[in-house]
Amino acid sequence: MNSQVLSVFDELLRSPRAIAERSRAGGDLRALFVASLAALVLGAGVFGATLATSRGGLQLLYSGVKLPLAMVATMLLVVPAFHAIAAGLGRPLSFSGMIGLTLAAAGRGALVLVALSPLTWLCFDRGLSYHPGVLLAVACYGLAGVAALDLVLKGVGFDARGFAIVSLFAAVLFATGGQTAWMLRPFLGRPSEPTVPFFRHRESSFWDAVQQSSLSMFGVYRVSQALSEGAGREVSQEPGPRTENGNESR
């Protein structure tokens, strides 16, 4: 079993087509499940801890635990949607095959995150600030996502209908995964916060956060409705000493 699991690791990286065909065919997928889950937990754990190097301390442990948790929870939530979309567009797969395919894709993506971890650590070590750090993390997730969706595409068929299925699935995955991770934040840790919380209280949504970080990079900060007496407005800052937005945490 152990050697099978190790060979699946290799296949996840080198032969996504073989993995996809095995998932489609069904049969005994235990080795694939175990290897993919191990890759997912390890890979996401390493990347989560790497993101937390910007803060250090307890945040390293928290992020190393929470990122795998976010990815596994997202997989559980989106597999039914993937199964339904594929069936609705004329590519029904067995549910176990669909779980195998999704898990393998997530495992592959997590291995890509491991590969990106040293670069990410170096960027934080060289003084990458908070908001660009958030966007760097989003870019890393994007790259990992492309590697994962490549495997999914090979599983559902490399043609127009396959692209349609994968695109729709990606939209569901993006919304669900983003919000799941948002609920489990912080991963980097708020710079101004003296202590490190395991969970942050519920506020806003994932999409608002991405939009706000993009604007903040250019020195544009959105003032909350309460502060602006009922009307949302935007404030532009001249480049200068950078102040972190007190309402944010990722």
Binding site: L77, P80, A84, I85, A87, G88, L93, Q179, M183
Partner: protein, 198 residues
Amino acid sequence: MEQSFPAIVSVSQPSLGARLTSPESQGAAQEFARLGAGLGLAALYGLALGARSGGVALVQHALGASAGLAAVGVLGIPALFVLLALVNAPVSPSAMFSAGSRALASAGFVLAGLAPSAALLAVTIESPEAAAFVTRGGLTLAGGIGLFQLTSAVRAMLKDLPPESRMKCTALLFGFSLFAIVLAARVWYSLPILQGAA
């Protein structure tokens, strides 16, 4: 030209999704069962949305999500059959019923598949606008897949028609698609979550 795709042979019994979306025409009882299953599955999506407010909203959303699909089935598909028959399209009531039940079952199945994600998003997103946006996304995705299934099935029935008749039928199908979108949206917009309910 669509690429051939290997059939799944190792599964002894087809999955629920495969049975609901299978293009094979079945007896009236099976088609009614497929239709009922589709509408029931759509209600799961409604329940997920209703979890945002809880209580009566659970029932309101469950009924509303299914009602959008049911409205298209009851008001749209018979009308489409009549119009296609007027231009001598080779469609039969049973074939149209089968195509309709498969399309509604597909849409319902997709809505059910989206229900876990929808529950998470509906419950955890604070902004009513963002929650409404996510809801519209799910309904559009499922409705689009249902419409795709229906138009594909009807177009398959028309493949032997001369080009002129086929053009008329295609125009009718296009008109029907617009009608179905507006009708489903009309019903779905009665959902409290789309009216900005927190």
